[in-house]
Symmetry: C2
Subunit: 221 residues, 2 copies
Amino acid sequence: MNVETTCVVPASGYRPLPAARSRHETLARPGIALSFKEGEQIYDQDDHADRVYRVIRGSVRASRLLADGRRQVGGFYYEGDLFGAEAGATRRYATEALDGGCQVAAICLGSSAVAKDAVERLVSQAAREELGRAQEHMSLLARTSASEKVATFLLTLATRFGPAWVHLPMGRQDMADYLGITIETISRTLGRLQADGVVEFGSCREFRVKRPDALERLALA
Amino acid sequence: MNVETTCVVPASGYRPLPAARSRHETLARPGIALSFKEGEQIYDQDDHADRVYRVIRGSVRASRLLADGRRQVGGFYYEGDLFGAEAGATRRYATEALDGGCQVAAICLGSSAVAKDAVERLVSQAAREELGRAQEHMSLLARTSASEKVATFLLTLATRFGPAWVHLPMGRQDMADYLGITIETISRTLGRLQADGVVEFGSCREFRVKRPDALERLALA
DNA sequence: CGGGGCCTTGATGCTGTTCAAATAGAGTGG
DNA sequence: CCACTCTATTTGAACAGCATCAAGGCCCCG
């Protein structure tokens, strides 16, 4: 494409922050800290969306009930993640704390006129993060085989939370509803991965990657 | 590709537009109009993302090559849609014109200092639209059966493009890669829907809904 | 010790994939 | 306008993988 335009690459404003941030940076941001018990709801499906959040501690699950009663898990948010940006005026997913002692910072839209710019940047950033996650999730769901999905899921977690033992804040049903497969298939696939020596489970909520190369090969395939 | 006009009309009053827009209204917005032939690329995967676009005429396909050679279709954009917002600094999907004579308006980030605010709002709006589409697509991919996926896909198109005959700008392979199923399953499912009298195909690129209630039931189920 | 989640494991059927081939459709040049 | 070619779509048959139904085991907590 050879077009002569007066386009200028922007110096700032459209550059996303790296996905992983230090906790210090996280805490140094505006917002009202809130605590939630395990399973407690942060906001509900169809609520009016008037704020975004940042996870300070613990993890959060976004889920949605479909017309026929099935449940879809939209995503998981971990320490440092922004969430709560919406395409419309209402919540597409409900969000709940996965851990006891889960803390989030709420950033209210249009709260203080002083910090208006900062809030707008935060909201914009939240939308970008959400978009990235949604696209990642789409790739995951588009994969054909259950082992690819599960392998990719574990790999993503392992990549983010270090090479040692990784704690799974969500249950098997959550994973199933997130990956679009049944809980039985999840269980069998995890069992197979462990039997093949690719990963190792300390308990059903804790795993460790034993052969990263094999896991990556499965995830890509 | 050739440049048609060079309109740098700064949009004054911003307001969220309805999904369907008149062509006139579309053209009254800032941007550089560009024309593409069928199959011509608008931008490539991994390109630097320095502008967003609005479809003026025709339709656009976003697609992505995966490591193992498979192709994933991220979405389709139709007249009036904003596209090209990214979560990161580079393009996650390549985009190509589906029709001959496809026209899009390019809005360069940070182009004119005068319209800076308008551009920022447009980019923000583009991100929101993209997020909404991604979430819709996730719901689609999470559905278990092929008939649900195909029915939902047709219903979405029919809802947007009126009750009469709807033209499909994409081929079967595009639909397959969008829905995460094979082209054979697409073909069989469409055949079944037609045999059941739910839809009717004039040609393989044109259909009409005969029993909207039945289609909706399939889509929800 | 007993109850109730949650997770695992087993057997069977269905749905979609795969491989293969036929048919339809669009474009090209005579 | 027709014959030819190439691609897109449809159709067929066999197989593989996941869902479903069902039962059993594990673990936490009262």
